[in-house]
């Protein structure tokens, strides 16, 4: 048997040279914590680089690129079906007017992104307010607001948007009009989401505590409940940007979207349609690929945000 060992020299609980952790730890709020988690999420980083890469190309590209997007080129050789990618025209040239596809794409990314981001932001703001009010007050307020949402959701949205853009812009709406139209129909999903979150949050003890401290209903909704439900709102809005970009491309492709003077990616696709059968793939491929990169980037980013903002997920 092992002999009984005398008193062991235990090291002191906190060695003098080590910092007192309680004092050293900085206070992180939920956004700082989420940002740390986001930075560790690989897909989120890939997605963000795709998305923000496209944003940078959209913003800076036009400044450094040589061709003027608004000038119709006067080529030496006229080829009606356009020309495949070459060193002078990396993404090829379009059919008919023989414009540089790279120039088109770079210049049009900006509008697609602007429409997507602004329309989603409008949708998020309207949806959060409507959903927040419905969820917090409940009763008749809730019933009326949510039935309006139900009614609007039961409309075939795409046709409504087509009709709207036709009606407002006489077939060629400005990008602002299109943005507003998408924004006005984009809040429905967010409103439902926010309402559901607020319904559960309003039973929280801190809401009673705030009320007991004399805080007004409006302040409880906007200072206590909505900040606590921001995580799902942020995720849904991010994914919503992708939805709007695709939707806008689709509407423009059908010829009901933004007028050709302030063009978007969907517009280019629309023009390419009749030339694809002649083997003119580059005209459709490069704008289409840009949409894919943007949308995929946003979706990866949204997934990452979801994980980063959810305290229960392990990253």
């Amino acid at each position: 048997m092992a002999e009984i060992i005398g008193p062991i020299d235990l090291p002191p609980a906190t060695p003098a040279d080590q910092p007192d952790y309680d004092v050293q730890l900085e206070s992180l709020n939920q956004w700082q914590i989420a940002w740390r988690r986001f930075k560790r999420h690989r897909m989120a980083l890939i997605g963000s680089s795709m998305f923000f890469g496209m944003v940078i190309i959209g913003l800076i590209g036009p400044l450094i690129f040589q061709y003027d997007p608004y000038k119709i080129p006067v080529p030496e050789v006229r080829v009606n079906a356009g020309r495949p990618p070459s060193l002078a025209h990396l993404f090829g040239e379009t059919g008919r007017l023989q414009r540089d596809v790279l120039t088109l794409v770079i210049n049009r990314i900006r509008y697609s992104l602007l429409i997507g981001v602004i329309a989603s932001a409008i949708g998020a703001i309207v949806g959060t307010i409507v959903g927040g009010v419905a969820g917090f007050f409940g009763g008749w307020t809730d019933t009326i607001l949510m039935r309006i949402v139900d009614a609007l959701l039961s409309l075939p949205l795409l046709f409504v948007i087509l009709a709207f853009s036709q009606f407002i812009g006489q077939g060629a709406a400005s990008w602002v009009t299109i943005t507003i139209i998408f924004g006005l129909f984009g809040w429905l999903g967010i409103a439902r989401l926010v309402r559901a979150v607020i319904l559960s949050l309003r039973e929280a003890d801190y809401v009673d505590a705030a009320r007991a401290a004399g805080v007004s209903d409006r302040r409880i909704i906007f200072r206590h409940l909505i900040p606590n439900s921001l995580s799902p709102i942020i995720v849904a809005t991010t994914l919503g940007v992708a939805g709007v970009i695709i939707g806008e491309a689709f509407v423009s492709f059908l010829g009901f979207g933004v007028d050709p003077l302030t063009p978007t990616l969907g517009n280019i696709l629309s023009g390419s349609l009749e030339f694809i059968s002649q083997g003119n793939w580059w005209w459709a491929f490069f704008p289409g690929a840009s949409i894919v990169v943007i949308v995929l980037g946003i979706n990866f980013m949204g997934d990452g945000l979801r994980d980063a903002l959810d305290p229960r997920s392990k990253i």
């Binding site: 206070s27 709020n29 939920q30 505590a209 705030a210 009320r211 007991a212 004399g214 805080v215 606590n228």
Partner: protein, 361 residues
């Protein structure tokens, strides 16, 4: 500070307070709070009356479901209507009936005049707001100060409740704090607005036993320093004995016994109070079975016709199942809702009291 000195300062303070009896601050009269639910109406609070003087300390005691929390929430009007309903009664606070106030006037009273400390410190603080912001929110609502002044008040409030390094704590978030610390924050929030009445709804239930005493001492100290009245809601008679001057015992939505702590805890005139007292484990009863009140709280949809405690009462007789007694006045501020105290049944009371002294020996 040793226990003995704590005890003596507490009793002397209590004596002083009672000597300069203040006016009635809160007078709850025949309060009825009902909830209309799918199966019918739950009369959670059914004719509760009690009052607290300025600077006084009253405990509402009773087991789960007796309506004590609903009473507290009714005073603050934190009951959701519907399904709740104030079916009757008055809550006179400082001469004003709270039940008749408009929301805007009520908001000034909530937090400003009446502050509430909740049961669950873990969930009573907003997780996305810093501690300082939450205290400042209340301060800004009830004091005419700018943000800087509010921050100073918040920091001082934290210092007052014994939070070390308050200038750093105001920037922290609730998840960084322990349960006891969060309850201190809640108390700081309550006292930061100089309320006339502090309602503490089971403030120590969710805390460690070691922290419970600290928090109770703190609530008492804050209450004594600010001169606010205290309404303590609890099921813990140990807490009652240490903290308050007067007790109202509740059962099935009614007050069944009132009096000073000494009177009620040492000479309960209602078998329910006695049952509660006897079910406290103690050193003297080591080795014996823990006694409990047999049966359970009556179903709110099928209340007994007579005394609500009759089905569980070891002393009950026919009178008890036939009709329910009123609160019988036994002295100034001393009442009990039990037929034993009716003059007609004084021999039964003698028997009851004999069994008590016998049981205690």
């Amino acid at each position: 500070m040793t226990e003995a000195t704590v005890e003596t300062t507490a009793t002397s303070a209590a004596r002083e307070r009672r000597a300069g009896v203040g006016d009635v601050l809160l007078d709850v009269r025949d309060l009825r709070t009902y909830f209309h639910v799918m199966d019918g109406t739950v009369k959670a609070v059914d004719g509760v009356s009690f009052s607290i003087r300025k600077g006084g300390r009253l405990a509402l005691v009773g087991e789960s479901g007796c309506g004590k929390s609903v009473t507290a929430l009714s005073i603050m009007q934190l009951i959701d209507i519907p399904p709740g309903e104030f079916a009757g009664g008055e809550i006179i606070f400082d001469g004003v009936d709270l039940l008749k106030l408009k929301t805007s006037a009520l908001r000034k009273i909530r937090g400003g005049e009446i502050a509430m400390i909740f049961q669950e410190p873990m969930t009573s603080l907003n997780p996305v707001m810093s501690v300082g912001d939450q205290i400042m929110e209340a301060v800004l609502l009830h004091h005419k100060v700018d943000k800087k002044g509010a921050l100073a008040i918040a920091t001082q409030a934290l210092r007052d409740v014994g939070v070390a390094d308050p200038t750093r704590r105001v920037r922290q978030y609730p998840h960084e704090l322990s349960g006891g610390m969060r309850q201190r924050i809640m108390i700081a929030m309550a006292l930061s607005c100089d309320p006339k009445l502090i309602i503490a709804d089971e403030p120590t239930t969710a805390l460690d036993v070691t922290i419970q005493r600290q928090i109770l001492e703190l609530i008492k100290a804050v209450q004594e320093r600010t001169g606010a009245a205290l309404l303590l809601i609890t099921h813990d008679l140990g807490v009652v004995a240490e903290t308050v001057d007067d007790v109202a015992v509740m059962y099935a939505g009614r007050v069944v016994e009132t009096g000073t702590v000494e009177e009620v805890l040492l000479h309960p005139k209602m078998p329910y109070t006695r049952g509660l007292l006897e079910s406290i484990p103690s050193q003297a009863k080591r080795g014996q079975r823990l006694s409990a009140i047999k049966g359970s709280v009556p179903n709110p949809f099928r209340m007994p016709n007579g005394c609500k405690f009759e089905p569980r009462c070891p002393y009950a007789w026919e009178t008890c199942s036939e009709s329910e007694p009123e609160l019988i006045q036994l002295g100034p501020d001393r009442t009990a809702r039990c037929w034993l105290n009716d003059k007609r049944f004084h021999d039964r009371l003698a028997e009851y009291e004999a069994s008590m002294s016998g049981g205690r020996a």
